[in-house]
């Protein structure tokens, strides 16, 4: 039997799917409805300081007919008073013992204020606290949200104010709008956080109306940077997740967020070390019902692979995250085109010709063009296979036998030992020895 249950920093839930702190987790009505449909947990929409939203607050990025490939927002934290939220949180938790109810907090940077809100939050009976250090707009100008997340010292100080009074697990939610995500993560660790959540939204402007020159979203003629989320941000989230997950100085459980739309996405986050995943945009697009396929799809996938618990695969791809200097320079692949499958669109040709290494030949045959790779010139970059619209038509084939292997780090070390400089001539000699000609 497959068991989807997880434990993220001491917060347990029957499956890894949590609502992210955002509009879908705004109220008791919504969170309870989500639980009824199967969600394993929720991170309550951030509560705290008095705020007032502008009306028009979202912008969607559509891509080739797909709606909301990315979603941008200039929304603030909960626009309902703390008391109302705390009451609803307590009611929700009472009804749903087995689900994770985590409360996201953001208040002004005063020790007493934090102490007070943390204590009141714990009184609701909730399972954990998430500190929103990510909101990139509106709150950051007031010294909160990303303004904290971007400065490791603030991040540490405020986290300490929380952990010194909290009796329940504390997650620190990081902003991706930093140049090194490990620094705020380490600060959170140093301050005693129990886990990390990432990512919050990315600074962005979604687009411009070409008729009116207005930004989207447009608030009475004005616009500004908002937070970017949705399927488009997943690759960035995966990267930042991996960076925190492999950092031995952090070594904390992680709740992964950013562009999770289905069970496949969720598995990728888990393979890079996430304990739970959080979802916002996909729910904003389709509703809570998407969790049905998430649970069933993940269960079916695990069953087909003989995996019974997510612990067996958590972080399984992390050992593969490595530095360029350790990649084998002699692991040689070239492109091969399956002539039976080719539909003669010639996209591989023009991509290689104009943007890669000019090693696909185009020869007219029976009224169409035959595309053929000149293998000796192919550098195996894979661009042609990426542009090819036909499944398995261009495959990247490995041609070395694995007997020779040399990484950049090994090569520079070898040169150093032999008293050789890293010059173009010396590099060409190495390449020539292994039958590699770059022109």
């Amino acid at each position: 039997m497959v068991d989807l249950s997880i434990n993220c920093a001491g917060i347990k839930s029957p499956n890894p799917f949590w609502l992210a702190s955002a509009p879908p987790s705004n109220s008791a009505y919504q969170n309870c409805k989500a639980f009824e449909q199967g969600w394993g947990g929720t991170v309550w929409k951030t509560i705290g300081e008095p705020v007032m939203n502008v009306f028009n607050r979202y912008g969607g990025l559509d891509y080739n007919g797909q709606k909301i490939f990315g979603l941008n927002n200039i929304e603030l934290i909960s626009d309902r008073p703390i008391e109302v939220n705390l009451k609803e949180i307590a009611e929700t938790k009472k009804l749903w013992h087995d689900r994770a109810v985590v409360v996201s907090l953001m208040v002004e940077s005063k020790r007493e204020t934090w102490h007070e809100i943390v204590k009141r939050t714990i009184d609701t009976g909730c399972d954990g606290i998430e500190l929103n250090y990510g909101c990139p707009h509106g709150m950051s100008e007031r010294g909160m949200g990303a303004a904290v997340g971007q400065v490791p010292e603030y991040c540490k100080m405020i986290t300490e104010w929380v952990t010194e009074v909290s009796t329940i697990p504390v997650l620190v939610k990081l902003t991706p709008n930093v140049s090194n995500i490990q620094l705020p993560a380490r600060a959170a660790k140093a301050a005693g956080a129990d886990g990390i959540s990432l990512i919050n939204t990315i600074n962005s402007i979604i687009g411009i109306n070409l008729d009116t020159f207005e930004l989207r979203p447009n608030v009475g003629g004005l616009g500004g940077h908002g937070g970017y989320a949705g399927p488009a941000v997943k690759p960035i989230a995966l990267h930042l997740l991996s960076q925190v997950a492999i950092d031995p100085e952090v070594n904390l459980p992680i709740s992964g967020i950013g562009g999770v739309s289905n069970w496949r996405d969720a598995l990728e986050f888990i393979l890079l070390g996430a304990s739970s995943v959080q979802v916002c945009t996909a729910v904003m697009h389709y509703g809570f019902r998407i969790v049905d396929d998430m649970i069933e799809g993940m269960t079916n996938w695990m069953e087909s692979k003989g995996i019974t618990s997510l612990d067996q695969i958590r972080g399984k791809s992390l050992p593969r995250v490595n530095d360029f200097g350790n990649f084998d320079l002699l692991n040689r692949t070239i492109a091969r085109i399956d002539q039976q499958k080719c539909i003669h669109c010639n996209l591989c040709y023009i991509a290689c010709e104009d943007a890669a290494h000019q090693c696909i030949d185009l020869t007219p045959v029976n009224g169409h063009n035959k595309t053929e790779v000149r293998e000796k010139d192919c550098v195996g970059c894979a661009l042609c296979s990426l542009v090819c619209p036909v499944e398995n038509c261009i495959s990247m084939v490995r041609i070395d036998d694995g007997s020779a292997s040399k990484t950049w780090n090994q090569l520079t070390e070898e040169f150093r030992k032999n008293g050789k400089q890293m010059t173009w001539e010396n590099l060409a000699e190495f390449q020539h020895k292994h039958g590699i000609e770059i022109h």
Binding site: R264, Y286, G287, D292, D293, G297, N300, E391
Partner: protein
């Protein structure tokens, strides 16, 4: 027959009866699934007579959860492979797809359903549902068509002991013996029969209830009975010459075609099909695809009144079938073999009580079409003699069994019925709905006892 059409090379038969709508490849299925908007409370779902949660099963194709996709489909429909291939989707699910309103091509729901279900069979039918523990009650199902199969599957999962009695040697009803081979082959129907059997349903073939086993004995043996007996042959034309060699009933003819021994099914060089319903179109296109040189459809009314679906009409025209509208057969000409059919031209008169304009003959308009074969396809008779022999059953004017439309219970409380024998001949998908819901009617009835 006087002039038998010459046989075709076997590759030609295979080509003529190959898939009208070829299957999706994985890429194209996922691309199409991603085009679906995943509507909430979707119109397509409402338009499907079995109310399959279409947006959900399509979403699951897009994420690669194909087993889950099949499960969503089976939750509503026990013969989804047949439905995917044979449903008139233009007037059902796909006709209701919101893309029509946007002026864009509807999602190909039928083909996506086929993709999910074929994958399920390819994977060896892994169990999707838990069977309730046996409740000690038994139900007898008469007929293994879609109505009987759906009722059996649902009851078996509810914990009933289920026995199907099927008169034919090969089960499946018209799914096996009726649906045009270019829509689906017999083996598809038999796969669906196998799935139902895998739930522990006992299938007894070559048992004709009313003959081999008496209805009374059946009523004694089981706690409840479900009738899914379908309909019978096309009625007599009641004109002279009907006994000549070369005059056949549509159902008989189509059944022969469905054996898939193409070269053993004789068709005339020139064939006339009488009637213009969907079965007539099937008979005509099948005769043509078997090698008939000319096929005519003869119908008393005009194209407006004909009951065949628009896409079936288009298919027939594409196959080169010639339509004689406002034409009524008067007598069949020939000595021992059919040589021709004498017809009378008609015109449309005043509308009758149903608003349908009645055809009236034009005097002295007789003309003769030389043909070698005549296929009678003016509807299907109900199994009224069998049905009226069953105690306390009530039938309507058309000979259909009268049931309560939510429980599918007949006037005899122990007997339930569904499919063609209650609706006078609709689609597979309607029979699938009836059978499933009758199972719940039976369950309600027997749980009360």
């Amino acid at each position: 027959m006087k002039n038998i059409a010459s046989k075709l090379p076997s590759e030609q038969y295979e080509k003529n009866f190959s898939d009208l709508h070829p299957p999706f490849t994985q890429n194209s299925a996922v691309a199409e699934a991603n085009r679906c908007l995943y509507c909430y409370d979707s119109p397509c779902m409402k338009a499907c007579p079995t109310h399959i949660d279409i947006s959900t099963f399509i979403k699951k194709i897009s994420t690669g959860n194909l087993l889950g996709s099949a499960k969503t489909i089976y939750e509503s429909n026990w013969v989804p492979l047949t439905c995917a291939k044979a449903c008139p989707v233009d007037v059902l699910c796909e006709g209701a797809c919101v893309y029509n309103a946007k002026g864009e091509k509807a999602i190909e729901i039928g083909r996506l359903q086929r993709y999910a279900i074929e994958n399920y069979f390819d994977k060896g039918m892994p169990a999707l549902f838990h069977k309730a523990p046996k409740n000690g009650k038994s139900v007898g199902i008469v007929g293994s068509g879609p109505a009987g199969l759906a009722c059996s599957a649902e009851l078996a999962l509810l914990g009933y002991e289920v026995t199907i009695y099927e008169a034919n040697k090969i089960p499946g009803g018209l799914n096996t013996w009726g649906i045009a081979p270019y829509k689906m082959r017999r083996e598809d129907s038999l796969k669906e029969v196998e799935l139902v059997k895998s739930f522990g349903v006992d299938l007894k073939t070559e048992v004709m209830i009313g003959k081999t086993v008496k209805v009374d004995d059946l009523l004694k043996k089981h706690d409840a009975i479900f009738l899914g007996v379908g309909l019978g042959e096309s009625p007599q034309l009641s004109i002279s010459g009907e006994e000549l060699s070369g005059v056949v009933g549509a159902l008989d003819f189509i059944e022969k075609v469905k054996t898939e021994n193409w070269e053993n099914v004789h068709v005339g060089k020139k064939v006339a099909v009488i009637g213009a319903g969907n079965t007539s179109i099937d008979a005509a296109t099948e005769a043509k695809r078997l090698g008939a040189e000319q096929v005519f459809i003869i119908y008393r009314r005009s194209d407006v009144e004909m009951s065949a679906y628009e896409f079936e009409y288009e298919l027939a025209k594409k196959d080169g079938i010639v339509f004689h509208f406002l034409t009524s057969p008067k007598r069949i000409i020939g000595n021992s073999f059919v040589e021709g059919i004498e017809c009378l031209k008609m015109k449309l008169g005043e509308p009758d009580i149903h608003g349908r304009r009645k055809p009236v003959p034009i005097l002295r308009s007789e003309f003769t079409i030389p043909v070698d074969m005549i296929i009678k396809a003016i509807g299907q008779e109900t199994k009224s003699s069998f049905l009226s022999s069953i105690p306390k059953l009530t039938l309507d004017d058309e000979g259909c069994v009268i049931v309560d439309r939510t429980t599918f219970q007949t006037a005899n409380p122990k007997i339930f019925a569904g499919g063609d024998c209650i609706n006078g001949g609709k689609e597979v998908v309607n029979a699938a709905y009836d059978g499933k819901h009758a199972a719940h009617g039976i369950d309600k009835f027997l749980s009360k006892k």
